[in-house]
């Protein structure tokens, strides 16, 4: 596997130095422990929002630090949760006196490390609320697993909660909004190829030329099912049906549709996916009122996509449309 890197052990640090050099107007980077912080943090009187996770999912989360979204992000090693000392540093750096929301994807490592960090931050007198996202419908029997994984809805929750915090909403309300977005969101992903972490140099799983993995997570882990490669229409039918029937999303519902690339799938294919999704939802009487298409929560160079739907109401539309100014998401 070829990689455009200098040193497998220095990838995360060197990428952070690149982000610092490129986006110093929006963010500053603390290197030990590693944290990406909004340039003007802490914003007095505003709820701080932090997230974090393994590296290798760029632009998530560091690319979403800035006005109207995250106040800080903690990058772990590739596909490895960040550590409590990073999360504590981030929490302290963004606390403007109104408390701090931790948005945590439901992966065992992320949850355990954020729990330790919340204990430490509370010990220092900072008001912390944590919301765990778990929108992945590929995980069905959550009684016998670590529960549904947090995936695509995390990006949308960070945007919407960031807008609410910017409006001056208190911590309890921002946290409740985050739980609402998570509760009304569902996702599922698939892969055409595995990915290769810089540390291991080996593919994360083996997949034949004519096979695809359905129900993958975002860390190169294999999916729930392996099938013969299908057309974009068949893949979307498979993913979107599982998503729509899970919540369920019903005729008359307004949704935000998020077609996400896993890192190695070109935008032209994502638009083919979007075409199929649009037709399928239209056929079910579901209206796409907002959309996001592109690579936002990736798995290194994995080829594949995920689909996320969020059921919208007027408040969520307004918060989604509110201005955002981060390295990876910018409008208004």
């Amino acid at each position: 596997m070829k990689k455009l890197i200098n040193d497998p052990d220095a990838v995360v640090r060197e990428a952070l130095e690149g982000i610092e050099a490129a986006h110093g107007d929006k963010v500053r980077v603390i290197h030990d422990p590693a944290v990406i912080v909004r340039a003007d943090a802490p914003v007095q009187g505003k709820v701080g929002i932090i997230s974090g996770g393994g590296s290798g999912h760029e632009p998530m989360h560091g690319g979403f630090v800035g006005v109207g979204m995250l106040d800080a992000a903690c990058p772990g090693e590739v596909f490895t949760s960040p550590t409590p000392d990073q999360m504590l540093e981030a929490t302290k750096a963004v606390d403007g006196g109104a408390g701090v929301l931790h948005i945590v994807k439901n992966y065992t490592g992320d949850v355990l490390n954020f729990e330790m960090a919340a204990d430490l931050a509370k010990g220092e007198g900072i008001d912390v609320e944590a919301v765990v996202t778990n929108d992945d419908v590929a995980v069905q029997d959550s009684l016998y697993t670590a529960g549904r994984r947090g995936v695509g809805i995390t990006v949308i929750a960070e945007k919407i909660c960031g807008a609410a915090a910017e409006e001056g909403k208190p911590l309890a309300e921002v946290a409740e909004l985050c739980r609402k977005v998570n509760g009304q969101g569902r996702s599922m992903g698939m892969a055409l190829t595995p990915c290769v972490t810089p540390g291991s140099g080996e593919p994360s799983f083996e997949l034949a030329e004519d096979e695809m993995e359905i129900g993958i997570g975002i860390h190169g882990e294999p999916g729930r099912y392996r099938e013969k490669l299908g057309s974009a229409a068949e893949v979307v039918e498979r993913l979107a049906t599982a998503i729509v029937e899970d919540l369920p999303y019903e005729s008359g519902d307004r949704v935000l549709a998020f077609v996400n690339g896993m890192g190695g799938t070109p935008l032209i294919e994502l638009y083919v996916v979007y075409r199929e999704l649009h037709r399928l939802l239209e056929g079910r009487g579901i209206t796409i009122e907002r959309k996001l298409i592109g690579d936002y929560i990736t798995s290194l160079e994995m080829a594949g996509c995920s689909i996320t739907l969020l059921k919208l109401d007027d408040e969520l539309v307004r918060l989604w449309d509110a201005p955002v100014d981060t390295p990876a998401l910018r409008w208004g």
Binding site: E77, T83, G109, N113, M116, Y144, T145, R224
Partner: protein, 209 residues
């Protein structure tokens, strides 16, 4: 026979070496049912632990074990960071101020550590986790102690039980951690966390026995 502070330092050093030797194997086990980073993460953490021990003076075993725990919490990441970090922090709490441990003292430390891991990770036996190596090792140690076994003998029985527990994870379906997402596809693979835990107890038997 007893365990002194120098022995604890030697044990941590030996464990760091064995993790380095088994890194590829741990990565391979974790690639099969997880995300393939366990060996790399543990090696990074143990290197930090060894450095931290070198910078920690004195013969307070509790302080040494807590230093190892803090290094692991801040350097490993993933689920293994908080879990192994908690194991050593709790063992350190149970041995604060002690410069020597007999079999009962080691048993109390291990028990505190294993209970800490259970309460942090909420895993039950047969969930296919490190608990499946740690819990049988603790039980075997306590049983050996009740039999009036020597420290060395008890440590060997404890390490043997950890090995049996580790191997017994192969047919299990994972119910905790990332492997649980594979459902039945996790069957047939040895749990990487149980493997690194077995290595820890095997090194304890070799170093202290």
């Amino acid at each position: 026979m007893s365990i002194g502070a120098a022995d604890v330092r030697a044990w941590i050093g030996a464990y760091a070496d064995t993790i380095a030797e088994h890194r590829v194997e741990l990565v391979r086990l974790d690639t099969a049912i997880g995300d393939g980073d366990h060996g790399t993460n543990m090696q990074r953490g143990m290197n930090a632990a060894v450095e931290k021990l070198e910078a920690t003076e004195g013969d307070d075993i509790g302080a040494l074990l807590k230093a190892v725990g803090m290094a692991l919490v801040s350097k490993v990441g993933g689920a293994a960071g908080p879990l192994y970090g908690t194991l050593f922090l709790q063992m350190g709490m149970a041995t604060t101020g002690r410069s020597e441990l007999d079999l009962a003292g080691w048993g109390a430390a291990l028990e505190a550590g294993v209970k800490g891991v259970q309460s942090r990770g909420k895993a039950e036996p047969e969930d296919k986790t490190m608990i499946d190596a740690l819990l049988p090792a603790l039980d075997a140690l306590r049983a050996a102690e009740a039999d009036g076994a020597s420290l060395g003998d008890a440590l060997r029985r404890s390490a043997d039980a950890a090995e049996a527990g580790m191997k017994a994870t192969i047919p299990l379906e994972a119910r905790k951690g990332r492997a649980s997402y594979l459902g039945p596809r996790s069957v047939g693979h040895q749990d990487p966390g149980a493997t690194s835990s077995q290595l820890l107890l095997a090194e304890a038997a070799k170093t202290f026995g």
